[in-house]
Subunit: 157 residues, 2 copies
Amino acid sequence: MLYSIGEMAKLLSLPASTLRYYDQEGLLPGLTRSPGGTRMFTETDYKALMVIDCLKQSGLSIKEIKAFMELAAGGDETIGDRLALFRGRKAALEAQIEELQETLALLSYKCWYYETAQAAGTEDAVQNLPPDQVPEAHRAAMARLEVRRLAEEEAGK
Amino acid sequence: MLYSIGEMAKLLSLPASTLRYYDQEGLLPGLTRSPGGTRMFTETDYKALMVIDCLKQSGLSIKEIKAFMELAAGGDETIGDRLALFRGRKAALEAQIEELQETLALLSYKCWYYETAQAAGTEDAVQNLPPDQVPEAHRAAMARLEVRRLAEEEAGK
DNA sequence: ACTTGACTTAAAGTTCACTTTAACTGTTAC
DNA sequence: GTAACAGTTAAAGTGAACTTTAAGTCAAGT
């Protein structure tokens, strides 16, 4: 089964111009052309594009993805390099997700904060709430807003 | 406690130029200046900058964050709007994290793939592996690489 | 007073990942 | 065959988020 650039663009829900750009940047070394010069995408190209998206989401730049694609074109000799790359990306993404979980906790705290403020009709009510009335679940997020971090406890300035 | 732009930059581990840029873009409406014109950052500004980072991580642009900061400057009347914004950001980030979990699953599959290929000395060995020898945990990720999605099952072309 | 380092501004420059344009050519349906 | 549509290229343009530059001012220590 072969796909035109328009068909492939629909399958991936992205503009055809992006596929041309990726091709131009060397992200699709295996891509073939019809006698007339039209790009013909195969299922293998589809898989490559899914992996490209995956690497992109993991934080790689287009140039870095190109380097990986060249590795992949290098065959079995580069299996070790590619394994190392995926292990690195996996670790990076795990770290990234952890960071986003902390961000999420802060957003949850802010939702609680504004829900409480809304119920009271004013923000002051939440600001003046004794700390022990803040739900346990939000304490850590709340603490992240405090300065401290990095400053090694200077004596009262 | 007051901080110079350099001190605040260190606390946040970002360049002072970024803080000037944020100020210029209107992200710090409460920021005051010394008689000589030097920016003086308070703990409130620190908190605001933590929230800015949080909103940025949740996918908001600088312009959108500015709009929020203006809302916040509007006082108690805008509590409802701000609550709605944080709820929206929370939902968006939750969706984003789910997506990254899927990406992570694909990376895990790729790690397994290359570990197996490395053990066999060639990629072909993994390619030719009967599907039931692929660990259950990786089946879904593997399936995501297949075309199908969106195509409504055309009769054998 | 003077040096040094950190601050100030406006404006221009950078990087990234596309996106658009213009002029043209290939492909498909009638 | 021809219209209309989908494809092609090289090159220029876009928008976001900074970053750098240049020229100058402020603040702290000696």
